[in-house]
Every structure is written in structure tokens, then in C-alpha cells.
Symmetry: D2
Amino acid sequence: MYAEARTLYERSGFGGRVGFGKRPAIVVIDMARSWLDDASPQGSSGLLPVLENTVKLIDVARAAGHPVFFSTMAFEKSDVAGPYGRKMLHLSQLGSLDAGSSMVELDPRLNRRADEPLLVKPRASVFWGTPFDSYLVGGGIDTLIITGCSTSGCVRATAESAHNVNLHTIVVREAVGDRSPLAHEVNLTDIDLRYADVMSLEDVSSYLKETPAQ
Amino acid sequence: MYAEARTLYERSGFGGRVGFGKRPAIVVIDMARSWLDDASPQGSSGLLPVLENTVKLIDVARAAGHPVFFSTMAFEKSDVAGPYGRKMLHLSQLGSLDAGSSMVELDPRLNRRADEPLLVKPRASVFWGTPFDSYLVGGGIDTLIITGCSTSGCVRATAESAHNVNLHTIVVREAVGDRSPLAHEVNLTDIDLRYADVMSLEDVSSYLKETPAQ
Amino acid sequence: MYAEARTLYERSGFGGRVGFGKRPAIVVIDMARSWLDDASPQGSSGLLPVLENTVKLIDVARAAGHPVFFSTMAFEKSDVAGPYGRKMLHLSQLGSLDAGSSMVELDPRLNRRADEPLLVKPRASVFWGTPFDSYLVGGGIDTLIITGCSTSGCVRATAESAHNVNLHTIVVREAVGDRSPLAHEVNLTDIDLRYADVMSLEDVSSYLKETPAQ
Amino acid sequence: MYAEARTLYERSGFGGRVGFGKRPAIVVIDMARSWLDDASPQGSSGLLPVLENTVKLIDVARAAGHPVFFSTMAFEKSDVAGPYGRKMLHLSQLGSLDAGSSMVELDPRLNRRADEPLLVKPRASVFWGTPFDSYLVGGGIDTLIITGCSTSGCVRATAESAHNVNLHTIVVREAVGDRSPLAHEVNLTDIDLRYADVMSLEDVSSYLKETPAQ
């Protein structure tokens, strides 16, 4: 239903292919209980396939020796006192991401290793308000592969940030999701036109297997 | 058609109202010929009402003594050599925003004054790669009112950045636009749910008139 | 001994006075055991007067209703794997700021309150890799008063960052310090010429008392 | 005269060697007339050897195929209205870096090529308020070699920023300078202890010659 937008944008010169680079890393956005568990005000168990596909992809990455990063969010009361908390009522009123709560912990199926950094990000993009760029530069990363949720929020914002610094930015279609299927689809199109190549799990897995670790 | 997304997001606690603060500024995003002129590969004269409504609003702001900022974009060949230029073919191949071209100049109807800063921004958000935040902090601004184009690109990215730093962020419905009406509508909804209050030209004009200048 | 530098810089137009603004906040840089305790490889009990003067100042600020922020640093092994850790051997080899260690905790004499944010900063400036700017914008802060250590490192870097965004930046002479008295003196001069007004504890205390809370 | 500081800092674990990486770039900071010409209020012809050594180094870099970047500064009146301009009186009152003036142009002996980006930076660090990081990431750069002026200002600030993002950061002793020889010496020491390896022109030239271009 969003084909009109794609047509108009491609005609204007958006939507080129950035392609893969030579040194990839994966970032898994916000695969914590607060987003995956229906008991959370913002949670949706409909995202479980996203988790499963993410697990498949990071297993491939680990086997091939590519770095994996994770993010979550967690807030104290004083962190959500201003306009940010007024827009995000789940944070400021519903306590869905309270620091110290089990809701902000990564899903155990991700099996995070001690040498895989966890970024506690204060905003949608994992680059904003964190030292994430320093890990990428320090590791010589030129390709950022994004999985997790939500497509219309933290995934899109992270893809924009990665694109801004000239990373080859890839979003894995089957490994990102959104509580709204409609928001998922239109934002995936915007992402593909503006910020990142949206690619299949299969193609990204093949690339990770074929690419030598540093 | 995007009502599903709104319903699901509001149920999850998104979409609170940030409201107005006490010290507003307006930023006019990319109202230059390259976006407004059909002769440009990325241009659309369908955006002329956006320009007209922006002019109305900045006239109100000037009369009330509130600061006005403008942005445009302009690139040398070496600026678009990497993944950024590979995604944005209008920049790297079509030359739609070449530095020095008349296409990157602000529309003369905006009548920019010498004391109104012009930010030449390298990416979608006017905050990214520019000193824009220093003008806002230096001016004691707590409310950023956004007009211009495109809703699905630079307007949304700027709203996200402003929200990130806890500005009261307001997007003026009749004074923003997009080459795709569909992209305009869905992104306006995402913006309203996540980053900024989307408000009418009339309500924002009233606020600007009633609010004392510093 | 650094008078030559001051003379040459003032003759060139550096060293103007920024003065106080209307809405101050205090940030206390790195007054944790790792910096204050001789048992730490980077610690110096010579900084205790800095702590005592900081406590005096934040008591004044609290009584007057002005916000107070704190910083510390803490690292996992994976955080110091690149060039950053190669330069900072106390972090990467001596473990002086290991996450979870009591060494990274704020000195209890600061008596931090639950509504006073603690920034765990990854680099010298408290603005870098943290959401610190969002607290200042959200609180309408226009004046940042800096105390803590080290003058030649985190204090100077924070003063530079605050100056960059057009905050009225003030460094409190008796409430900042350095493990090297010489580094303290020359950096205090550089700070005063380039980034912030260096002022006395007495003058800053008077200002805080006289300035109405928001 | 600053040996005390070095001793105390090295004993605390500062001053490790970061060494060279594999993909270098050079950034030449502010070698424009306003800094090099005694006719400018902030200028000093004493910096001419810095220019000459910079020219030698960039000739080596060009011959070896390594990228070269340049910076300058330039301001409109509205850019220096707040605390930044109040500290920097040469900018706000003496007009030493007025946009459009010949004073802000690079020295012609640098012979900048069309494909060598020029960053017009608004603050001391070339990373701040510019898209500089996107050029480095897009070019796969892991080593930043810094030349130009002033050691106690823009050189130090740029070294700190580069260190923050985990670049191998190198400052070339004979190719950086300061209007104050004393400020030069103490800041070079601080830089070496905290942010970058300070190395000789000869050693850096050898490295550039021996390192294959990408």
C-alpha cells in the first residue's frame, strides 16, 4: 500500500544500494522482556519470530568471528522528567523500563557473552547518548547489520545514525519487527529508500559466512 | 489508513503531549529551490503551500520577536563518496544539491534576514554535523517549532533530534510536506506518537503571538 | 610561571568574561574513591580539599534549589580494548575503574540524593557518550558550574564541551584539583583563556544564593 | 619544566603508547592567514615552520596515496552572539575570523586539491559541529595524524575527540605550534599523556611511506 511512496522516491534519486563492506558487526536492538512480553505495557509476544531470527543470525556471526553488540533501555525517575518523558508515557507513568527491573534485561535466548558489549541507550538510536561509535571505529567496522525492534522507532533511528556516519548499513527484514505490522511495513520502506539496504536473513547470513573475520 | 498504528501505539503509552514551553524558536527545513522546483530531480512544486504557510508563521514569529533559523544542504563531490552518496543518488549522480548551484539557495519569499542563521546541514537532521544546538542553548530556547520538508526525511529526523535533547518539539501540520502525500501522513503520525506534538498553524500562531519575546 | 601564555593570549583577544546566566546547575566531576584514595593507582588524597569545597558548594546549591549532577567512570574489559585503553593503562591494565568495584562509587560525603542524576561517563567530558545535554536543555539550564577533578583532564574537557554549546561555563578555583599541582595551574589558565570563567568559591556561592530557583 | 606532571601521570598509568594503525589520514588544523599572519589580531608568523613542516608531511601523504583533510574557521555576527563570543573576543569584537574575509582562507602553500575536504569548523575540535567523523568512517580510517595550530587549543581538542572515538591518534611534534611556546610545551605533554602519541616528523613520514594506500 506504500508503493506510491517508493515510486515517487526512487524517481527522485533515493533508494540506491549501499551494499556490503568488508568488516561487519551486528547490533541487536532492544530484545529485552519489556518489548517481548505481553505483560509489559509496551510488550508484544508477536515479536518472538524477530527474536528467533536474530538468534539465528548472531549464531552465524559468532561462528564467523564477527562482533555482536546489544542494546536495552533503562531509566531512573529523574531521567524522564522533561518533554522526553511527557511524550513517552510508558516510561514516565507506566514504568515499563524502570532501571533495575527484570523487564529491561535482555532475553536469555540471546545468550550474550561477556565480551559482547551491552549499550544502555537513553534514546531511540543506539548511537545517541552512548559511546557506540567508539566501539565501531576501534574495531574497524565498516558495515552495521541491524536487528531487533521497533522498526518504526529504534531500528529506524539507529539506521539513520549509522547512515549518517557513512557505515554500510543493512537492516535484516525477518529479524526486525514492530508492534504495528503497518508501521513495520511503511518504515521498512522509508529505511530502504533513505538510510539502509533492507535485505533478507538468507542473504545477510551468506555474507557473514563468506566474509573473513579480522 | 494508519489508524491501526496510532491505536496500538497509544495503548502502549506513546503519544503523550509535550506542550509548549516558554521560549520558542522556529526552524525552517530545506525550503530551497531544489525541493520546491519541478526542474530539480528531487523537486516538487506541490510543496508551495508548505512554503506559503511557513512564510505566514515566520512573519508572526518575527513580529513577536522570536528567533528564526533556516537550513539548506549543499555538497562537494568529495562529500558524497561513501555509503551516504550511494543511497542518495540525487546527490551523488544527479547533482541536485551541488554546492554553488542556485538550487541550494533558500526561496527568496522567505526573505531571510542577516541575523537569522542559515545552517548548511550535511544530513537529514539539522542538529547532525552542525552547531545548531549551540544557538538554541545560547538563546535559552526550550521550544522548537519545525516547518519545511520533507516530512518523512529531514522534518522527522530533526524532530527526533530535538526530542532527544528534551526540547518541547512542535511540528506544524500545514507547514510541513513531502513529495509523497502518503509518506507525509504516516510519518506525521509516527512523529506525533514518538517525537513531537503535531499542531495546527492556527494554534502555533496564537502561541507565538501570546508568548513574550526574551 | 605561565604568565607568558596569559599575556600572549589576552593580547590576541582570548580570555573574555562570559559571566553568569540566570539558571545555574552544578556538575561534580569524578569525586569517587578511585580519584580520592591513595590505594587506587590513580588516586590522590591530596584532592580531599577539593571534595570538601565541593560539598560546601553543593550544600549552597541545594539550599537555593539549583540542580546538582554527578559523574563517575566505570569500564568493562570490552570497553577498553582499543586505542583508548592503550593510552589509559590504569583502565586497561591496572583496573582502577572496573565496573562493579567500590572504587567507582561516589564519595559518601557528597550525599547524593535520589533526584540528582549520576552520569557514568566513558570519556573525559561528561557530555561525551552520555545524555547530559538533555538534562540541561530539559531543565532550562544556561549556566554550568564545574567542580571536581582532574583540572587537566575531565574538568577541562567538560568546560570545553559546555563552552561549545554556549553555556555560561564557570570553573570553581578551590573546588577543582589535579594530581599534579603544576598541571592544575597551567590548565586552569588555559581554561580561563579559552572555555570558562575561573572564579572563587566565595563568588560562586554568593551567586547561587542570590539567584532564584526556577 | 613540566616534568613533574609527566612523572606523576605516568606513575598513575597515563601515557601508554597507542601506536600506528593501518589506514592513516592527515588533518591540517587552521593553517589559514588569520593564524599565520602578524596582521591578524590572533596571528603569529612564528608559526611558519609549522606550515613548512606540514607541507612536507602532506606531500609525503599525497605521494603515498593517503587522504588529507583541512580545517579553517569562519563566523557571521550571529554565530558569536552568546557565551562563546564573549570568551573569544577576537571573533566577536576584532573580527579576526569573519566569514568572507581573506583571513580565513587556507595558506596557498598548502595547495589544497579539489578532492581534499575542507571543514569549516565552528569550535576548537574539527569533530565538533561538523561531519568530520563521516569522512573517516566512510574512508575506513583508523589513524588520524594531526598537524597545525594551536597546540593548546584546536590541536589538543581535536586530539581528544579522535581519542574518544578510538582512533589511533598521532600529533606531529614539529608540525604543530602555538603563539605561546610555553603553552605549546605543556599542552604537548598533556596530549601525550592523555590523548595521542606525540611523534617526530621523521617517524611519521616513514610510517606514511611504508603504509600501503587503500
